[in-house]
């Protein structure tokens, strides 16, 4: 799989209007992931699929948590998403999750929390699309 080149790379450099033009998937991080697989062609795809399956449930959890809002529930979901998304190159998304996690921990205003939470959920849509595109291209 080629994630570093420009051949079919609609996914790697997808621009996100909501994040001031930041990239959804970080090419550097994806290259690192590829390196971890050490030449195993199917490896990156496998990891991405694993992430997508896992993340759907977490995002669902987060949405449910935001309705309350139940801080603990949101916190758990944000923490898990932060960790796994960073591995598949969704660095911006991971940062957002980290921010949300921080808000849950400090116990600051619920408004901020819900606002950031919604942003994370929306952003996940882009991450998901970019990753799926990447899977298709490979």
């Amino acid at each position: 799989m080629n994630t570093s080149g420009d051949s079919g790379g609609s996914g790697t450099h997808t621009h996100s209007p909501e994040n001031g033009g930041g990239v959804v998937l970080d090419a550097e991080a994806l290259r690192a992931l590829e390196e971890l697989g050490g030449g195993d062609e199917a490896f990156v795809g496998e990891i991405i699929e694993l992430f997508l399956a896992e993340a759907v449930m977490r995002v669902h959890e987060m949405q449910a948590g935001l309705d309350g809002p139940e801080r603990e529930r949101v916190l758990q979901a944000a923490h898990a998403l932060k960790s796994s998304s960073a591995h598949v190159g969704a660095i911006q998304f991971a940062r957002c999750c980290a921010e949300l996690e921080g808000l849950c921990r400090t116990g600051d205003g619920a408004d901020d929390l819900v606002h950031t939470g919604r942003r994370v959920v929306a952003m996940y849509g882009e991450v998901q699309a970019a990753l799926k595109a990447l899977l298709r291209d490979s």
């Binding site: 991080a29 690192a32 992931l33 390196e35 971890l36 697989g37 050490g38 195993d40 490896f43 496998e46 990891i47 694993l50 992430f51 896992e54 758990q76 923490h79 898990a80 932060k82 960790s83 796994s84 960073a86 591995h87 598949v88 991971a94 980290a98 921080g102």
Partner: protein, 684 residues
């Protein structure tokens, strides 16, 4: 060869006090073995005081080329099998290594020196089977120390020697020797010779190593493997081949290639044979490297062959083009060559066993990545999705390393660590925690809980591996300590066993193999005390073989001895339970009968008398039964001291003898008439 005078230049080097030398136990061994008549026991004791040294010597004594023999588990056994001198030399060589550190000579590659020396030692050991008169251990020591003169110069004259090395880089060894003489009035070959003599190694050994140092380059027609010097030359070729670097001059590579060709010719080996030999040497090299903490690299014979082929081609070009420096040609060889910079710290290492790693993460993506990275590095990987599962697997499989995520629901990485550290198994595991950037403030708490190291998430493979390598080192050390501990325990058991045997021997009569007088007396004392304390019964039966002097006089002492042995066995066979016979001396025995009163003792005596009477002793020219007279004394007869009781039994024997032998008499309770008879006979 006559021992040469030690040159004053060497004495000067020595007086610098910085010559490479054995340390600690090594010094002690040097002192103990200064003279030819040193005590092997003293030396053994000194070696045993250093458990890792002990382990190394035992490992060498048990190595593959001595397969088929009983494994050696103690230093004393190693001394017995290998000889005290060999063990001594091994101990010295190992202790020189353990003292090493990277010195200050900038042009001298210390790690490469030790890698090369170890490779040469292992190669020499392997080749020693082809050379008469050189044992594999001697070959090992010679290989290890063959270039110690170079190390000495680098250590004592670090700066001027760096200059010599730089100026002669890429030139033949003869040029190096000349430059050394020019600069220091002494060369590494002579220093090596003097150092070996100084350490008490035999002159033949020192001069063999010296000829290796002087002649290894001028042996073009020498296709033989007869002497220590030949052995070292070929071993050096093999070790050099395993350590070719990008900067090895083509000329040297060509030399190594030629030496290997000659070796193949001498041994009559096929290419496959040579490949197998090199493979075996490389394997042993890396095992010893592990043991001695010396870097080694993974080499394959194919890559060596290819490197040599390129080197030789380059050398030919160099000759035809007369390019002089050869820099251009070196670059031809430089790629695809085995290099020491590639020294591999192999995760699959630590002997044959794979290192077991447990990966713990609740995030499936991270866990999958972790497992992939670890497996790729050759670890034996198991994984767990939460703390509780990790705990179970840890207890069941006892992993060496654990990589655990800190933030997991229910049981965090920290809690897992604390729980593991409370268990005996978990106490020695190396635990690396994966943490997010925010968890910095955990640091102190985590270390206090027993976490060994941290890696930030998301991790990259290189970073994680660097941390795990540190962990592997610790695991390796722990395994080594555990091994040493087992060696010590084995030795202790051996020593105790020996002491027990010694004690038993000191209490046993060597001829009849029944307990001796000393043992009998100890036993009676304790029986007496116990009877006084608790009122329990015990009796002694003094036994004397009738007319034994006549047997000795008629048939000789050899037959007499057989009579004693046979009678002792007969008596012993007639006894039951805790009753015991001992030989007091001469033809006199004593039976100690626990729990017996006067009556019981007499019955016992009668039984013993009968058994002996019926026992036929067969010896050279003698086939007959003997009889015994027995005197009984028992605790219930009211003696006031052991000595009185023993004297009474003794008197009763006299009585039995006087009354016609082959009978049992009791000290008190037999007829007064008999007592009177004894009294009259004695006074007569």
């Amino acid at each position: 060869m006559q021992k040469r005078a030690i040159p004053v230049e060497f004495e000067e080097l020595k007086s610098s006090g910085t010559l490479p030398s054995p340390a600690g136990v090594g010094i002690k061994i040097l002192e103990i073995t200064r003279t030819d008549e040193f005590s092997a026991d003293d030396m053994g004791q000194a070696i045993m005081s250093d458990s890792s040294l002990t382990g190394r010597i035992l490992e060498l004594a048990n190595s593959a080329d001595r397969a088929g023999q009983e494994p050696i588990t103690t230093v004393s056994a190693a001394i017995m099998r290998l000889g005290a001198t060999t063990v001594r030399n091994l101990a010295l060589a190992f202790s020189v290594i353990s003292e090493r550190d990277d010195g200050s000579c900038k042009a001298f590659n210390y790690p490469l020196y030790w890698s090369g020396s170890l490779a040469r030692a292992v190669a020499a050991k392997s080749l020693s089977v082809h050379v008469g008169g050189v044992s594999s251990e001697e070959a090992y020591v010679a290989g290890l120390l063959a270039e110690v003169g170079v190390l000495a110069l680098a250590t004592v004259h670090s700066e001027p020697y760096a200059k010599v090395l730089l100026e002669t880089r890429g030139q033949p060894m003869s040029a190096v020797l000349a430059a050394e003489n020019e600069a220091f009035d002494i060369d590494h070959s002579t220093i090596c010779y003097c150092m070996m003599l100084d350490w008490g190694l035999p002159e033949s050994f020192a001069s063999g190593v010296e000829s290796f140092n002087l002649e290894r380059l001028s042996s073009e027609d020498d296709v033989k493997l007869d002497t220590l010097s030949d052995l070292l030359r070929f071993a050096d070729a093999i070790s050099s081949a395993m350590l070719l670097t990008a900067t090895t001059p083509p000329r040297r590579i060509n030399e190594v290639g030629e030496q290997l060709d000659r070796l193949q010719q001498v041994l009559g080996y096929s290419d496959t044979d040579v490949a197998r030999l090199v493979g075996q040497i490389a394997g042993e090299w890396s095992r010893w490297g592990e043991r001695l903490d010396i870097s080694t690299c993974l080499v394959s014979f194919d890559s060596i062959k290819e490197a040599i082929r390129r080197g030789r081609e380059a050398f030919k070009k160099e000759l035809t083009l007369q390019t002089g420096g050869g820099i251009r040609c070196e670059s031809v060889v430089a790629d695809n060559i085995v290099t020491t910079e590639d020294v591999v710290e192999d995760a699959r290492g630590l002997g044959a066993e794979k290192i077991k790693v447990l990966a713990v993460d609740d995030d499936p993506v991270a866990l999958r990545l972790l497992v992939t990275v670890l497996r790729k590095q050759g670890f034996d990987v198991s994984f767990a999705k939460n703390g509780a599962e990790a705990m179970r697997i840890s207890m069941r499989e006892g992993p060496d390393l654990i990589v655990a995520d800190q933030e997991m629901p229910e049981m965090s990485g920290l809690e897992l660590t604390r729980a593991l550290r409370r268990s005996k198994r978990g106490a020695s595991m190396y635990i690396v925690l994966l943490t997010g950037a925010r968890e910095e403030d955990l640091l102190v708490e985590a270390f206090e809980s027993g976490v060994d190291d941290f890696v930030h998430k998301p991790f990259d493979a290189r970073h994680l591996m660097a941390r795990l390598r540190a962990g592997m080192r610790i695991v390796g050390l722990q395994r080594r300590i555990e091994e040493d501990r087992r060696t010590i325990l084995r030795q202790l058991a051996d020593k105790n066993n020996f002491n027990r045997r010694l004690k038993m021997l000191s209490l046993t009569d060597l001829l009849t193999e029944v307990p001796n007088r000393r043992h009998a007396m100890e036993r009676i004392e304790s029986e007496w005390k116990s009877s006084v304390r608790s009122g329990s019964q015990f009796a002694v039966l003094m036994v004397d073989i009738d007319r034994f002097k006549a047997v000795n006089d008629t048939y000789g002492h050899d037959v007499g001895d057989v009579v004693l042995k046979s009678t002792a066995q007969a008596i012993s066979g007639a006894l039951r339970g805790e009753n015991q016979v001992a030989r007091l001396g001469g033809e006199e025995f004593l039976i100690i009968a626990r729990g017996a009163n006067a009556e019981d003792a007499k019955v016992l005596g009668e039984r013993v008398r009968l058994v002996v009477e019926e026992n036929v002793v067969e010896a050279d020219g003698f086939r007959d039964g003997v009889t015994i007279s027995i005197g009984v004394a028992s605790f219930d007869q009211g003696f006031v001291a052991v000595s009185e009781m023993m004297k009474a039994a003794d008197d009763a024997v006299y009585q039995a003898k006087t009354l016609g032998r082959n009978q049992v008499r009791s000290a008190r309770g037999d007829s007064q008439e008999a007592e009177g008879l004894v009294a009259r006979r004695r006074s007569a």
